[in-house]
């Protein structure tokens, strides 16, 4: 169980996270919200890239807050960051070799099987990939760490619709490998089809949490918190 308890993050005067609490169990949890509500900061704070001023993050009871990012990663938290952040100097295959560990559910051959496009591009450098290919690479990089928790910050961003469908399939299968998924999304359809529950973030707080199915049908809540028409991509 990943637990976030009363987490606050400040950048100078700006109070970005204002006491976020959430629990992530077996079932995937999605976090939705408009731009600038603190979703990316929350992902960074869980992965240790952003320092929290109050509150804590724990994984199976052990405190993660305050640890160096690589220690948090080794405890079993993988991040698919916003903007993908693949390494321009590394080829596709080098990215995978960098993180691959023996004895996990995800192996390099399985990644190539799941994303055949990456197998075709295995010797291409990080700068020669399209946005969608970089996104698949960033997701594969996280999967290969065989983490307990995978935090994804807008994985569907910039992907063609057919690839988004493929991605939804991959994400829905994560619990079978024992991975827990925290999915930050702007794409309502991805969030509601992958996650059991959806939390909505407004100005640095979780405003409300509801079953994904309920949100999918509740156009009033969608309009109020997300400013989207049903199923639309904001």
């Amino acid at each position: 169980m990943l637990t976030v308890r009363d987490l606050h993050v400040r950048f100078g005067q700006a109070h970005i996270l204002q006491g976020v609490s959430l629990e992530l169990g077996e079932a995937p949890l999605a976090i939705l919200g408009r731009n600038g509500m603190g979703k990316t900061t929350l992902c960074g704070a869980i992965a240790g890239l952003v320092a929290a001023s109050e509150g804590e993050v724990t994984l199976d009871g052990a405190r993660l807050s305050g640890l160096a990012p690589y220690r948090i990663a080794r405890r079993g938290v993988a991040l698919v960051p916003q903007g993908r952040r693949t390494f321009p100097s590394l080829s596709v295959h080098e990215h995978l070799k960098l993180v691959a560990r023996r004895g996990g559910a995800w192996t390099i051959p399985r990644v190539y099987e799941t994303f055949p496009r990456l197998a075709e591009r295995r010797n291409n450098g990080g700068t020669e990939l399209s946005g969608g290919e970089q996104q698949m690479l960033a997701i594969s990089r996280a999967l290969l760490m065989n983490p307990k928790v995978i935090v994804m910050d807008e994985p569907s961003e910039g992907l063609a619709p057919v690839i988004v469908d493929h991605l939804i399939g991959v994400l829905r299968d994560l619990p079978k490998d024992g991975m827990r998924l925290l999915l930050v999304e702007q794409n309502l359809r991805v969030a509601t089809e992958v996650a059991a529950h959806v939390a909505i973030m407004v100005t640095g707080r979780i405003a409300t949490t509801m079953p994904a199915r309920a949100l999918a049908e509740d156009t009033e809540t969608q309009r109020r918190y997300l400013g989207v028409a049903a199923g639309g991509h904001h």
Binding site: A47, G48, L49, A68, P69, Y70, I72, A73, R74, A78, L79, P81, R85, F87, P88, S89, L90, E94, K97, L98, V99, G126, R141, M145
Partner: protein, 297 residues
């Protein structure tokens, strides 16, 4: 002066320039490597040259007095090791705590270089000293166009080429190299991938310092080792990487060759103002291509 003499002079100047460039490359490649990953402008880089030279000499001298053929190699190993340990400690004990604070790191390393230079003076005294290379790489070799040329200077070129190839292999063919390249791109994300970035940093610092140490012993075999060499080699490292491009092995090689040739050409053509030529080149590069000839924007 006949055409043959002019030819010989030109060839000698070029060869002198290249041998000097070889030494500059060995020293500056370590500087560039450290900057590339750590973003530390290590103002104590020249100090590593002195540390390697003096510690290496302290090991070399008694062995040489006993006529042992491996005295020079032992001095070389000791000098390189001393520089590597010094560099690793510098990163682990001081610079690691101020990651990302470039001005503070620059000031701390300047402080270290002043303290270290005084300590070296206190321990070893101010007399210049010079290694004697083993017989196999001493003496002179016939070079076409140039005639007799010091063998050790040719060895210097060979070592520089070997260092360049080894660095390329390390960066492009090993796991550590993969981590270094990824860290140059995005240190934070490398950490989020579970890589112990501070440890990689210490390894890179030790490696960069070892290269400078290698340059220190080799340079102190070709020319005398004395106080003040630290400032000289720091300045040269800065000029070389500014001209060639920070953080690129090929760029460092190009920068070293240009600076080495410019220095020798200047000394032959207009000895009084030869120093100016190097800096004119640096200013020109900064004006036209501030990231360096092969640097990334």
């Amino acid at each position: 002066m006949g055409a043959n003499d002019r030819m010989e002079l030109a060839a000698t100047i070029v060869l002198n320039g290249l041998t000097l460039a070889a030494l500059y490359f060995i020293v500056a490649s370590g500087f560039s490597l450290i900057f590339g990953l750590m973003r530390v402008v290590n103002m104590a880089h020249g100090t590593l040259y002195l540390v390697a030279g003096y510690v290496g000499y302290a090991v070399f001298e008694p062995l040489y007095d006993q006529d042992l053929w491996w005295a020079w190699y032992a001095g070389l190993a000791a000098g390189v090791l001393a520089a590597a340990v010094f560099g690793a400690l510098l990163q682990q004990l001081l610079l690691g705590w101020m990651q990302g604070q470039e001005l503070r790191q620059a000031l701390v390393t300047i402080g270290i270089s002043i303290i270290a230079a005084d300590q070296i003076l206190a321990i070893y005294g101010g007399n210049p000293r010079q290694f004697f290379a083993p017989d196999a790489i001493f003496g002179s070799t016939q070079v076409p166009l140039v005639g007799g040329y010091p063998t050790f200077r040719l060895v210097q070129i060979g070592v520089a080429v070997a260092v360049g190839v080894a660095l390329w292999l390390l960066l492009n063919r090993t796991r550590l190299g993969m981590m270094i390249r990824a860290g140059v791109d995005d240190r934070e994300m490398l950490g989020a991938c579970g890589v112990n970035v501070p440890l990689v940093g210490v390894a890179v610092f030790a490696l960069g310092a070892a290269l400078c140490g290698l340059g220190g012993v080799i340079g102190s075999t070709a020319q005398p080792l004395a106080m003040g060499q630290d400032g000289r080699f720091l300045l040269i490292s800065l000029v070389v990487v500014i001209v060639g491009g920070m953080g690129s092995v090929t760029g460092t090689a190009v920068g070293a060759i240009l600076v080495g040739l410019a220095e020798q050409l200047g000394q032959a053509m207009f000895p009084t103002y030869s120093v100016v030529l190097t800096f004119v080149m640096m200013v020109a590069v900064l004006a036209l291509r501030p990231q360096g000839i092969l640097g990334r924007a």
